[in-house]
């Protein structure tokens, strides 16, 4: 009986593969969606690259919310998705530390000896990591700072490194700062978005999904005014 019940429950929920930067914003989104439709959303988080690889290898996700367009485009081109990539939000990159720093002189502070380890997400699998590299290049800091870089496997691991203080500073998503669950006092600065290509976060519905109807509903919900409000609260830009 219990097994039957849980099977029904399993069939009802929508499984979404979500880029690690969405870890905090997904909670209020899922809560609002449940309020509107009664459907439960189960999120599986990871670096966008990893989730793409999993989706190509039979992972039973209904929707993939990437941190960029490229990974969703790959899935679409190879025939794993039902629809073309659809941008649902624009992410913004911040510099973030447990230590107070002079936001006007952040470059000087980064190159200072006291700044020992700088965390960025793995640039080959996490779009926020790629953006961080672009920012460092734009300000001609990459060569100097490369020996100090440590690579989180996703933005979530970068956030762990920042909030536990094992690194001096990290490049992460603004959503971290907006998370009501954040207990650590953090100092941060928004990076100039002219220095990195826009982090257009796109989604696709996946053919391997088990709950097409629920997935379609959630997809539409993410583009609705209610969802856009939530995205804005968490530091994302929406069109």
């Amino acid at each position: 009986m219990l097994v039957a019940l849980s099977l029904i429950a399993m069939a009802q929920d929508v499984k979404i593969a979500a880029a690690a930067n969405l870890q905090s914003v997904i909670k209020p989104l899922a809560a609002e969606f449940k309020k509107q439709t009664g459907i439960t959303v189960t999120a599986i988080h990871g670096a966008s690259g990893k989730l793409t690889a999993q989706s190509m290898n039979g992972a039973p996700y209904d929707i993939f919310l990437s941190a960029d367009v490229a990974f969703t485009q790959t899935l679409y081109n190879k025939g794993y998705s039902i629809n073309k990539p659809m941008v649902y939000a624009l992410g913004s990159l911040i510099l973030c530390s447990q230590r107070p720093f002079d936001t006007k002189r952040w470059k000087k502070w980064l190159t200072d000896k006291s700044t020992q380890k700088i965390a960025i997400a793995n640039p080959s699998t996490a779009p926020y990591g790629k953006a961080a590299i672009q920012v460092l290049k734009a300000d001609a800091l990459l060569t100097t700072l490369k020996p100090r870089l440590v690579y989180g496997e996703s933005i979530a691991q970068v956030n762990t490194y920042i909030t536990t203080g094992v690194v001096s500073v990290g490049f992460t998503t603004e959503a971290l700062i907006r998370d009501p669950q954040l207990k650590t006092k953090l100092y941060w600065l928004k990076m100039d978005n002219n220095n990195y290509s826009p982090i257009k976060q796109a989604m696709v519905l996946l053919k391997a999904g088990k709950n097409k109807a629920g997935a379609q509903k959630f997809y539409e919900f993410l583009l609705s005014p209610a969802a856009k409000r939530i995205f804005k609260q968490y530091g994302y830009q929406v069109k």
Partner: protein
């Protein structure tokens, strides 16, 4: 294919094995003596890494070595040593992680020696240290070699801890197991296959060597 992760793994395994030989010889000898509650507790602690998820060890190390507080802060202030995201940090983690692989077999081997061996030596006026060096050690050589090879191979296979405290820095903490993971994430399956095959080959040869060497012994290495 970049050979750096493979070299790094081999370097890490070699250093870990040498350190554990130095640590575990006296430790196993002490453990092999008469059983007390205290010795048993120490043995339980040493065996823990065998059953504990690597993520638990990774989590504790992350907390312990954070330059913001406690031990990590002190190491940082006093010696300018940072143990997260550094090779020495991986060595320390590996020593903890592979401790049971060295301590266990060596202790068992010492316990299986007939007590008369050491007693005869003491009767002839040899000290504890002399007895250990000249009588007991030569008698457990096969067990020692087996333990060393298993420790080496086990350290090559380390992944979870490194992923948590390593930071994936090329040439510093990007070991072969992490390079495989990375290649799979980037959907570079050919690269992943190359690393994987190389790791498979190395460990297979190591273990085959141990089994052949131990064939002349009564026991197989896993006993």
């Amino acid at each position: 294919m970049d050979a750096a992760p493979i070299w790094l793994s081999l370097k890490l395994a070699t250093i870990t094995t040498i350190l554990l030989l130095v640590i575990c010889l006296p430790l196993a000898w002490w453990l092999s003596k008469k059983r007390t509650i205290f010795r048993m507790l120490v043995e339980v602690l040493i065996t823990m890494p065998l059953v504990l998820p690597p993520s638990v060890l990774g989590f504790y190390l992350l907390l312990a070595f954070s330059p913001q507080q406690g031990l990590g802060e002190w190491l940082h202030e006093a010696f300018d040593v940072q143990l997260v995201f550094s090779f020495p940090g991986l060595v320390l983690a590996s020593v903890i992680y592979s401790l049971p692989f060295m301590a266990g077999p060596v202790k068992s081997a010492l316990q299986q020696l007939p007590p008369s061996l050491a007693q005869a030596s003491y009767t002839l006026g040899k000290s504890q240290w002399q007895t250990f060096k000249h009588i007991l050690l030569p008698n457990i050589k096969p067990a020692l070699l087996t333990a060393a090879v298993l420790t080496f191979a086990h350290t090559l296979g380390e992944f979870g801890v490194v992923l948590m405290i390593g930071g994936n820095i090329p040439g510093v903490t990007r070991v072969a197991s992490v390079a495989v993971y990375d290649a799979v994430e980037q959907m570079d399956f050919l690269l992943a296959a190359n690393y994987a095959l190389l790791l498979f080959g190395i460990t297979f040869l190591l273990l085959t060597g141990v089994f052949i060497y131990n064939r002349t012994q009564i026991k197989t290495p896993l006993e």
